[in-house]
Symmetry: C3
Subunit: 188 residues, 3 copies
Amino acid sequence: MKQNNIEQILSAHSVIPVVTIHSLDEVDSIIAALIEKDIRVIEVTLRTAVAFDAIKKMKASYSNEMCIGLGTVVNVDQMNEAKSVGVDFIVSPGLEENLIKELQKSGIPFIPGAATPSEIMQGMELGCSILKFFPANLFGGLETLKTYAQIFPSIQFCPTGGITEETHSSYLELTNVICVGGSWMMKK
Amino acid sequence: MKQNNIEQILSAHSVIPVVTIHSLDEVDSIIAALIEKDIRVIEVTLRTAVAFDAIKKMKASYSNEMCIGLGTVVNVDQMNEAKSVGVDFIVSPGLEENLIKELQKSGIPFIPGAATPSEIMQGMELGCSILKFFPANLFGGLETLKTYAQIFPSIQFCPTGGITEETHSSYLELTNVICVGGSWMMKK
Amino acid sequence: MKQNNIEQILSAHSVIPVVTIHSLDEVDSIIAALIEKDIRVIEVTLRTAVAFDAIKKMKASYSNEMCIGLGTVVNVDQMNEAKSVGVDFIVSPGLEENLIKELQKSGIPFIPGAATPSEIMQGMELGCSILKFFPANLFGGLETLKTYAQIFPSIQFCPTGGITEETHSSYLELTNVICVGGSWMMKK
């Protein structure tokens, strides 16, 4: 499910499952479980060596049903490898200027992280209007997002970090939350 | 009440009311209420479209009695518009290098925001010695400021965010707090 | 005890005492107290004017027994003075690009501070793989470090700020904590 920009992708999926894959054998069952929950997007983390091969497998088998992104991207080498396996989008935990500029050149939809007002303003200066608020629960959670809604009304956030099945809808109710990321839906 | 630099302005006013104006009709009563409380400074937020016209009206009618600033400034376009209406000072929620450099060129007294030690050091490198600590209550409040007093003894802060009538004097007692911002005094 | 890089220094000492010295007369008793506790490293803060002279005295008398560092370094002038007195390592509360680059040129082992994911990524981009997590207790403490272990597995941290005799071993148990800083061992 290729979409041209990050706003289209995130506004089409209110919940982004953040999934760490330990073996290629898990891929089919994970995708099946997500589709059963009517979730058509996945953010594969770069926390395991198998991440790129898992994405390749997903792109080969599920590119019509799923929007397939790579998370935890922290440098340009990882971005280039992500590009070579054809990811639909990239998520980064923070904001680093060189990486942002290369991501913009790459044409791949992406969302960088930000935690503080200064980081949000640096993101705005670089042309970003959708940011991952991370780690959400450790930097004030809902209260911080409510404050940012008043100060930065043009910025949409995807809060991620410590969000649970119980709390995720409180985040989605905020005017400046486009979607939420988490892994609660992968439990059990 | 024109003052030449941000230290003069902030040290003359221990409490900075942060005010969002929804209609020009409110201006006179807001200023009257502040003067009655012996508050001679106002930070008008940029959260409403009427903010610049409200400042124009204040500057025309109250420039002898009040020091009139604009808050929530996040980019150079807003700074330029603030300059054109003659604001006495500018407040920014964060630290963004291009904006700081343009503010320095403009000659307008300003205070940028910072939340973390790295942001404070980046502000120092840019020549800033007075910073807004924002959002104060969500980044450790009094405890964080006490830590910063030990680490950054040359830096003065204007904490803003979640400060109340009850808590504001605890902030003012800290050696590194030059003034506090908030909107508790506008309630009722 | 000269060691060539910051990883060697920090991995050799699980606890870094952060010490503010008020008089040169204290130096001998402080060092004796540390050696009695089998602590062979000290981070002298720059919070007092006597810090550089204290380091000179330590280097003259204890350079075989102790690894002697300077903390609270926020600019290049302080770095240069630290270099002139021969410190074994430098600690900075945050990350500021110019300072990092000068520290790298200086050849002095150093550890800069970082609090947010963006700051960690900026540190990585500058070539830093060991960072001070500061102020630890005010930015989520153990929970934040556990999150960073998943996101930044290649980065080691020295948490500092609010760590006590009771809590320091919980920090040391984390896979991404190379050592902890604090002053609890100097009490009484």
